[in-house]
Amino acid sequence: MSDVLLACKRLTIGYGAGPTVVQGIDLTIRAGECLALVGPSGSGKTTIARAILGLLPPGAQTSGSLTFQGQDVLTLDEAALRQLRGRAIGYVAQDPYQACDPLRTVQTHVSAAWAVHGERPAAGVVCERLAQAGIADAARAIDQYPHQWSGGMLQRASIAAATAHAPALLVADEPTSALDTDRADAVLATLKASGSAVLLISHDLGLVLRHADRIALCDEGRILETGTPQALSISSNRYVQNLFSAVGVPSRKGREHQGEICLSGRGLGMRYGGHDAISDCDVSVYAGEILGITGPSGCGKSTLLRLLGGLERPYAGTLKRSVALNRPGSIMPVFQDPVVSLNSRWAIWRSLTEPLTARHLPRLSQKQRRDRAAAALEQVGLGAVDPESLPGQLSSGQCQRISVARATIGQPAIILADEPTSALDTIARQQVLNLLSGAALDGTAIVLVSHDQHMLNQFADRVLVMQDGRLAVRGPFSQRAAVARPF
């Protein structure tokens, strides 16, 4: 086929004596198409991207072939690769803020795409490209520094830089994982509009299904199946079926919660060093409901959770707790990073049953604690996991389920979950949401903070939207609740 841009044939990559990261994959990218490479962390996605860019670390051993526009990238020397990068293959990094030098303006970063090839962009070209990428008022914003731009804008600027020379292929490694969902869609639209073929690497199948022309599912260094979203959705492969069924969010629409108010804050404010992190927030949490809180990064979601959880005293306003919340341990957290939220030196049974050892509770023997841990592991579907294992030996999905088990083991009245699924792959995400949903059915209120509005709209009973430290607009489900229960 003449329109094949990039072809991998039995590409195998390993590092020294370590495991073989990529095991004989076959992959083709045609001109102009968007191919998504989807798989869990550690499945070899990033290694494939680095191989295409000729950026494998020293000591990597490769076999097979990786042909781009007729030349084998694996055999090219550094000078030839430099000609390829930027001109023929563009690269968009994961976190635009980390990809930019905070001391230089956005203009400098975008013009660098020309400067590295010894060229100078014609006057106004940078502005024009940024405008094409959807930046409003580019002429003014161009002299600002990266931190003054939002993540979505900055990522679009990176795309403008990556497409400066109209490369035939764009490699985008998790380009949206640092962004909110609505911005993610806009960024991916910009990426596709560039006219280049796109290799989109992601662990989020839901996002990819909305944008990719073809999807390659990979795991443990192998490509399991490649095809259009439609073809994959009717695949006979049991694993692929499972993956697709997990894309949705367990829907709770139509469920009516009849709980009482267990926690209510009025006029809550918090101030750090003269800056109002949040101000004038009215929140009430009902028993057994799932309350979603969403908003862009830095809007004060996490601060609000810290106040609700009693980790800090509000600077302004009052926080009223129902009688059920007077005992310690009645509000428990679930955090974003599953692995560090468990003590890395402790066997999981110890972390899991720690809430049972609080001062006010009767003393349990080690054996009782181990038994309780085994039962709790069974409940979150981890019955086969050895309670003696350490968090580092488990996957992040498993660790997050253990965190949920730790949060529920003391029968709390409220669980505060701060982005509990954003570090997880598709299936693990659904498992964690199911556990939280189960806890809500048992009467525990769940306050779920997330920047994924698609997920919250389906999963939460009410959604509060936060903006610049204030609970601004109420999402669709909040109106129903607000009318039903004026506070």
Binding site: S341, V385, G392
Partner: protein
């Protein structure tokens, strides 16, 4: 393992870890580190010398024998004799526990004081933190060497006063470090979860915070051991530490430097041993640092 299992994170027996954990597999990892092995062997040798040395001396280390002054290494005096005819081998063996013991003692004291002050300041916060840290600031503004010399100047030279001076000069750095490690640990999710569960501060301190802080501080202390051995020897060389006639490696260097043109062997043994102990301590420290570095957890 099927692909489904992996993707679904379905229950499975523990697999070889992506992140080598720090507690259970620490020793195999450390012993796999070539530099650490060498450092450990050297350290054992020096430690054995410090403990057994005084019992193994072929001659009375402080007994002059003017008839045998300044003899080169030979059959009866393996490392020769000094200007007053004392056997160098005996003095080197006898001095080992003063040089190494003093450095270890100072470091243990600094480690303990730093850990207690730092974690206290980091956990208590408020005015306790304020007072302790301003005290640390005051100590840290004074150059360590000057402070140590001032303390010895006031108290007079001697091994005990030297130890006191070195402790006073160096504890503040460890306290500052322990405080910042504690502040970081306080905000760790597992600590927050324990707080919200109603676990007391004492148990949080000993269960969650102290093990990590102590381990990291211990790595720094091991890296500082070499410098401390050199400091003890250095002060004794200047005549501010161990006093004659007792043997200490730095003091031996000081005594023998006048005879260097006619009896260079006098310098060889103490200098080599100081060098070896600094090397051993640095190798151990580097090994610990490499093994416990965040790299292992990524």
């Amino acid at each position: 393992m099927s692909a489904l299992d992996r993707f679904a994170s379905v229950a499975r027996p523990p697999v070889p870890a992506f992140r080598p954990n720090t507690s259970r597999r620490l020793w195999p990892q450390l012993l796999g580190h070539g530099g650490f092995r060498l450092g450990l062997a050297l350290c054992m040798l020096l430690l054995a010398m410090a403990i057994l040395g005084p019992a193994l001396t072929p001659f009375e280390p402080n007994w002059p024998d003017y008839a045998a002054a300044l003899q080169p290494p030979g059959a009866s005096h393996w490392l020769g004799t000094d200007a007053t005819g004392r056997d160098v081998l005996s003095r080197v063996l006898d001095g080992a526990h003063r040089s190494i013991g003093a450095a270890s003692l100072v470091l243990a004291a600094i480690f303990g004081i730093g850990l207690v002050v730092g974690t206290l300041a980091g956990l208590a916060g408020g005015w306790i933190d304020l007072i302790l840290m301003r005290l640390v600031d005051v100590v840290m503004t004074l150059p360590g060497l000057v402070l140590a010399i001032a303390v010895i100047g006031v108290l007079g030279p001697g091994l005990f006063n030297l130890l006191l001076a070195l402790i006073l000069a160096d504890w503040a750095y460890y306290a500052r470090l322990a405080r910042s490690l504690t502040l970081t640990a306080r905000q760790r999710p597992d600590v927050l979860a324990a707080r919200m569960a109603g676990i007391g501060w004492g148990r949080i301190l000993f269960g969650h915070i102290l093990p990590g802080v102590a381990l990291q501080l211990a790595v720094v202390a091991t890296l500082g051991l070499g410098g401390m051995i050199a400091a003890v020897s250095g002060f004794s060389f200047l005549g501010l530490g161990v006093q004659p006639p007792y043997a200490e490696w730095g003091a031996m260097l000081a005594e023998s430097r006048f005879y260097f043109p006619i009896a260079p062997w006098l310098l060889l043994a103490p200098a080599t041993l100081i060098f070896a102990s600094v090397l051993a301590a640095n190798l151990l420290g580097n090994g610990l640092r490499d093994t416990l570095a965040p790299r292992g957890r990524s």
